[in-house]
């Protein structure tokens, strides 16, 4: 996608100038529906249809014989389940929420940007088949903002798949339900009746509903601000209707929502370290909202072109397989299940490519590099220069940087993030450590190791900073891997390079979501970019490091800390017993890293403590059958294949930054820290 062709409108702007938001919110609506039905279906109609459908009815007959309960009792149970699940639609609530939301946004946001052309184009395509909105998930605000955006653009507000944690929030659950949310219990419970009902409900909405559907393919909010590996459950439920030819097609609309500042940033930083989050309670949620005095900058929606399931699967999909037997008895085939990952990954890929890079993302990279590479801290003017340089590079990769007047943008970014990045007395931009106060932690609620308060205080600003670096990494990661390889192993041929790339990239496949089918392509393109940017140079058949040392350093620093954690994970599990609980590994790895951080022998990036990274590593290893993952009554255990782990550990070791370099870094960071701490 050509980044220069992207255009965004601030949909909040008219709200700021109009004299009454109330008039706007109560305007006559004529929303574009997704799949026009002969008669407009009501929320209750959907529930009734689910109860009536042959699949449920036949299940009830079987169950009633098995459990010796009357069918009526069971039907009551299904109705209760449906009442727990089902969405509602109360226009009054929607309008009221629109007003409240406008008020809040006007106060704390400078703008809500949207590529409106894409919405117009999409609207012209809607009406004839189910349309599924698939936004990235970085914040609870995603839910409401999506609906707000639809309301503004006169698109029917979707039925949204939400987790049960919302359901529990008093008041909020009802409000969300009234604006179209339907609720899904967490998986890992095998209540057959519940799941059959839930699946049927989704099927009903897809085949007979007129509203768009919305779900988060990443399954949960990404705490790290980078994409999560897609989950396949809901998308499969949705596609069922297409596989069975009960709808002509399904359009998936990947949407990226980028934030200048994520509402939950602090919570996430804590969570990544393993410090328990307060249970999602209404008070907790509002507490995060009550910071209405703070500024959150802008929010950016980028709606990608819809992906037609029909076109995507093309002739690979033989739908005639379901021609025999009644529809309700049809089961999705294994082959169809195998098709899901490619589509799910495509959606995530599109979400990534449609992200908006903010000024602060670039500022975070520059600042991070200065802090960890012994550079001098920079003044605002200097930092603008570096940001502009970086902007050019990242734009080469197709990124869109939202920045008109650099100075204005940088100052605004500093204002928005002044909770942890500030200009110090000497006029230099730096991290702020002193204002993070960690309360008493309830040990029993810890997810992993109990970090010392000193470690936490030191780490949190780095975690926050990394959260804002992360969204840029999918542009850099392939390049970074190449630089890493050549830097640690010296010049090599393209084939060798690819072999090493393949090793690292597959290991990092959960960390920086990628799908194996794209590997070769991405390698080739990264290599071309690397040469082009003079990161690598080609000497006859061999690739060596190039002259662009500045960029090399930046890029290298981007994934350094990930490699380190992966290495520690491998080392740690080798020392543990053959079968271990996940929690033990998490704690052990964190403990190990904390020791290293405090040893004072070298700079260990605090982000290495991230539980997310550790789990990604474990999942990647499990994906390669190095570990065997199993789940028993809610807790995850791994069985370890020592030989394989050892092999990976040894191979990884070559890429870990040598002690001497770490020592230099340590001194530089200490220097900066001393000024502040």
């Amino acid at each position: 996608m050509c980044s220069s062709s992207r255009r965004y409108q601030d949909i909040l702007a008219p709200r700021k100038t109009e004299c009454s938001n109330f008039m706007w919110a109560s305007r006559q609506l004529n929303p574009q529906v997704a799949f026009k039905q002969a008669k407009k279906p009501s929320p209750q109609y959907h529930k009734d249809e689910v109860v009536k459908c042959p699949k449920i009815q036949e299940l009830l007959i079987t169950l009633s014989e098995k459990e010796q309960v009357t069918k009526e009792v069971l039907e009551g149970r299904v109705r209760n389940i449906l009442d727990e699940i089902g969405y509602n639609k109360k226009l009054k609530v929607v309008r009221w929420l629109a007003v409240v939301l406008t008020k809040i946004c006007n106060r704390i946001c400078s703008g809500i940007y949207l590529n409106e052309d894409a919405i117009l184009q999409l609207k012209s395509q809607m009406g004839t088949c189910p349309v599924i909105f698939v936004p990235s998930h970085r914040s609870y605000a995603d839910f409401i903002l999506m609906s707000f955006m639809c309301f503004t653009e006169d698109v029917a507000i979707p039925a949204i798949a939400a987790g049960m944690d919302f359901h529990g929030m008093w008041g909020m659950g009802t409000v969300l339900r009234d604006t179209g949310a339907f609720f899904m219990r967490r998986s890992y419970n095998d209540d057959h009746l519940y799941w059959t009902t839930f699946k049927q409900y989704v099927y009903q909405l897809v085949t007979k509903g007129d509203l768009p559907l919305e779900f988060f393919i990443e399954g949960t909010r990404s705490r790290t601000n980078k994409s999560l590996t897609p989950k396949y459950g809901l998308i499969l439920m949705i596609l069922r209707a297409f596989f069975l030819s009960q709808v002509p097609d399904v359009l998936f609309v990947p949407i990226n929502i980028s934030y200048d500042r994520i509402l939950e940033e602090k919570l996430f930083a804590f969570e990544l370290l393993g410090i328990p989050k307060p249970k999602e309670s209404t008070s907790g949620f509002f507490k995060s909202l009550s910071i209405v005095k703070e500024k959150f900058g802008s929010i950016y929606f980028d709606v990608a072109e819809p992906i037609s399931a029909k076109k995507f699967f093309g002739p690979d999909l033989d739908r005639t397989l379901h021609n025999l037997q009644p529809i309700h008895m049809q089961e999705i085939t294994d082959y169809e299940k195998k098709l899901i990952p490619s589509l799910a990954h495509e959606i995530v890929y599109k979400q990534q490519k449609h992200c908006i890079i903010t000024t602060f993302n670039l500022l975070a990279i520059v600042l991070h590099n200065n802090l960890t590479s012994g550079r001098n801290l920079l003044s605002v003017d200097e930092i603008i220069d570096e940001i502009l340089g970086l902007k050019k590079v990242i734009e080469k990769f197709g990124a869109y940087v939202f920045m008109d007047d650099p100075r204005k943008c940088v100052l605004e970014a500093l204002e928005v993030h002044n909770n942890f990045v500030r200009v110090n007395e000497e006029g230099k931009v730096t991290l702020v450590w002193d204002e993070i106060v960690v309360g008493k932690v309830n040990v029993s609620k810890l997810k992993a190791h109990e970090l010392s308060e000193k470690t936490i205080t030191f780490s949190v600003p780095f975690m926050l900073l990394q959260i804002y670096i992360n969204p840029t990494l999918h542009y850099f990661v392939d390049l970074a891997v190449l630089v890493l390889i050549v830097k640690h192993q010296r010049a090599q041929s393209q084939d060798e390079l690819f072999a090493n790339y393949h090793f690292l990239r597959s290991l990092l496949s959960q960390e920086f979501v990628t799908f194996n089918t794209r590997e070769k392509m991405e390698f080739t393109s990264a290599l071309a970019h690397a040469v082009d940017l003079n990161l690598l140079s080609r000497n006859q058949e061999l690739y060596d490091l190039g002259e662009n040392k500045q960029l090399e350093e930046i890029i290298y620093n981007c994934i350094d800390c990930f490699i380190f954690t992966y290495f520690v994970v491998c080392s740690v599990i080798l020392e543990l017993s053959r079968v271990i609980e996940e929690k033990t590994i998490l704690a052990k790895v964190q403990e190990e890293i904390e020791i290293k951080i405090n040893e004072g022998k070298g700079f260990i990036h605090p982000y290495s403590l991230s539980l997310d990274t550790i789990t990604n590593c474990l999942n990647a290893l499990a994906g390669q059958n190095v570990l065997t993952k199993s789940r028993k009554s809610g807790s995850v255990t791994y069985e370890i294949n020592d030989t394989k782990v050892l092999f990976i550990k040894n191979r990884l070791e070559q890429y870990v930054t040598p002690a001497q370099v770490l020592q230099e870094k340590f001194e530089s960071v200490q220097l900066h820290l001393k000024n502040k701490l």
Partner: protein, 600 residues
């Protein structure tokens, strides 16, 4: 002059020599490059600036159709000032020379069977009635046409011809009425052997009628309207009325597994057929008795039915006949929407109380039917007026969703009354309202007339075609919706702005129904309309099959739908068919290439 000298058959009855409505020289009466009678066609009268239907053969003949033009303009953006006239009949020297050796020609001449080598005779037997066929006739030429046309007059003529062809390695393509819409009649391109078109039209006697058992033995070339006319004279009917029955032949019906409008009362061709003879290179395939049913291994009648000219020539068929019904009444019911109408159809089938015919037009077809109303019968009936009429008179009906069911009842007066009562009461349960006999009758009449409209459409850059399928009840609605959506999508991606896709349910069964689609589009913006149409129809068929529908309910496979044959019958099925083919026709002289491309 009909039967010069009464011939007696084995049963000592007079053979009925039928004087066909269609002459041996077909082109004298029928269009050489379009549908039906030469005198009957839609024309645009530029002086009056309106469209008319010419001739007196059909009830709308010579009446003004004042609503049609506006509708066509609006829906197809047609420019009536620029007609695209079809090419003239090519002069004799333009036709490819017949590829036949003098020896083979001499052998045919020796058989004393009428034949022709004339270009036009060969050309009009080189095709059926697909869009591709007609478009080719109007604008270019077929890659391959028959080299010689022969007109056998009886079973033994056919036996001689088939033996000769087999001995001299010539290809035989049976030709009945030439109404096939599957490409079945077309010559296989790339066939280097001599191709004989075996026209059955002169083999059209009714050999005998068995009043006790209510069956008649007919030669296969008899066409529908002749058969009905002759039987009626004697107080009988076959009850087999495919929409093409004016021109299609008994042999063609058997060879394609045809289905008639009144199958609910009389049955499809497989229900009507009691005995059949097929001449193959290996001899004649037939049974030794004329019994109502037989338990005797696999039924080889089903090898003959649907053989599409690829296994042999059907020469004589014994079919059931019925006494003419005393009472014959049309009817119609309007429904608020297609879903309701379909639900009603399903219920009627569930209760097995279908009248002779029951059909359901969707909203598009309902409207189109209204558009074709001649002025003389309805004053100022434009759609807006209609809107008012229905919205006010029939409360709650939306002109843009409503649809109509047409009905035909036959039987004793009392039976018809009882049937009507039952159907209308079921209709009521589904929100339907009786809408009168004339609407019903018009519906059936239009069926015959609509076939003529394509010829006019082609003059104004609109191509049109129909296709059909059968589908289980539970999948019918979704199938209709999905096919319409696929066509819409595909038109969009082909850059077609003006198109029409609508459908009707034409038959009901215990386990499902038949859906018939009409597709038309303005091809101004596409390069090759026929190719684009083929793409659209292919996508539609893929979708039909994905939705649980069939390759065809009655049009057959021919060459057009070959690509779905193996998928439908399994590879074992293909091999079984090929084995049969190899056994009956080892030299592949019936090289029609229908069903599968047979390289034996």
């Amino acid at each position: 002059m009909e039967a010069r000298k009464p011939v007696l058959n084995q049963k000592n009855e007079a053979v009925i020599r039928v004087k066909s409505a269609v002459p041996k020289n077909r082109q004298d009466l029928l269009k050489w490059n379009g549908w039906g009678y030469r005198d009957s066609k839609f024309i645009f009268d530029s002086a009056a600036n309106e469209v008319r239907f010419t001739g007196q053969r059909y009830p709308i003949g010579d009446l003004r159709l004042p609503h049609l033009m506006g509708w066509v303009k609006e829906n197809f953006d047609v420019d009536f000032s620029k007609p695209k006239k079809a090419q003239e009949v090519p002069p004799e020297e333009k036709f490819p020379k017949p590829q036949i050796s003098p020896e083979n020609l001499a052998r045919i001449t020796n058989l004393d069977i009428s034949y022709s080598l004339k270009g036009l005779d060969r050309l009009i037997r080189a095709h059926g009635q697909t869009l591709h066929d007609i478009y080719t006739l109007r604008t270019s030429f077929f890659e391959r046409i028959p080299d010689i046309v022969v007109w056998p007059t009886c079973h033994s003529d056919v036996v001689k011809l088939v033996r000769l062809a087999d001995e001299s390695d010539m290809v035989v393509i049976p030709f009945g009425g030439g109404t096939a819409v599957s490409g079945a009649v077309e010559c296989p391109t790339g066939e280097s052997r001599t191709i004989i078109s075996l026209d059955t039209s002169q083999m059209n006697r009714i050999l005998w009628i068995d009043r006790e058992n209510l069956v008649a033995c007919c030669e296969s070339g008899i066409i529908g309207q002749d058969l009905e006319r002759e039987l009626r004279k004697l107080g009988f009917t076959s009850g087999h009325e495919p929409d093409s029955y004016e021109f299609s032949s008994l042999g063609g019906w058997v060879a394609t597994r045809a289905s008639g409008m009144k199958k609910n009362l009389y049955g499809n061709i497989e229900d009507l057929l009691v005995h059949v003879k097929m001449v193959t290179p290996k001899g004649v395939l037939e049974k030794n008795c004329q019994v109502p049913r037989l338990s005797c291994g696999p039924d080889f009648n089903h090898v003959i039915m649907g053989s599409e000219g690829s296994l042999g020539v059907i020469t004589e068929v014994v079919i059931k006949v019925r006494p003419l019904p005393k009472c014959h009444r049309f009817g119609s019911i309007v429904f608020p929407d297609f879903e309701a109408g379909l639900a009603c159809m399903r219920e009627v089938a569930r209760q097995r109380c279908q009248p002779s015919s029951i059909r359901l037009m969707d909203n598009g077809q309902f409207k189109f039917g209204m558009i074709l109303k001649p002025e003389s019968s309805y004053l100022g009936l434009i759609l807006d007026g209609l809107k008012k009429f229905y919205v006010t008179k029939i409360k709650g009906f939306n002109v843009d969703t409503m649809c109509v069911m047409t009905l035909l009842f036959e039987g004793e007066e009392a039976d018809v009354k009882a049937q009507e009562k039952k159907i209308y009461s079921i209709g009521l349960q589904f929100g339907g309202m009786p809408a009168g006999q004339t609407n019903g009758e018009r519906g059936y009449m239009l069926t015959f007339v609509i076939a003529y409209i394509r010829d006019l459409a082609l003059e104004y850059e609109i191509v049109a075609e129909s296709f059909e399928t059968s589908v289980p009840w539970d999948r019918a609605l979704v199938l209709c919706k999905n096919v319409k959506e696929v066509i819409a999508q595909e038109c969009r991606s082909q850059g077609i702005k003006y198109y029409m896709i609508n459908c009707r349910v034409t038959q009901t069964y215990d386990a499902g129904c038949v859906i018939y689609f009409y597709l038309g589009f303005n091809h101004r913006d596409v390069e090759n309309p026929v190719t684009v149409h083929e793409i659209l129809e292919t996508k539609a068929r893929d979708e039909i099959i994905a939705c649980g529908g069939s390759i065809s309910h009655h049009h057959g496979v021919g060459k057009l739908r070959r690509r779905w044959y193996a998928g439908t019958v399994s590879q074992v099925g293909v091999d079984l068919y090929l084995a049969t083919k190899k056994e009956l026709d080892p030299k592949n002289i019936f090289a029609t290439n229908n069903l599968i491309k047979a390289k034996l």
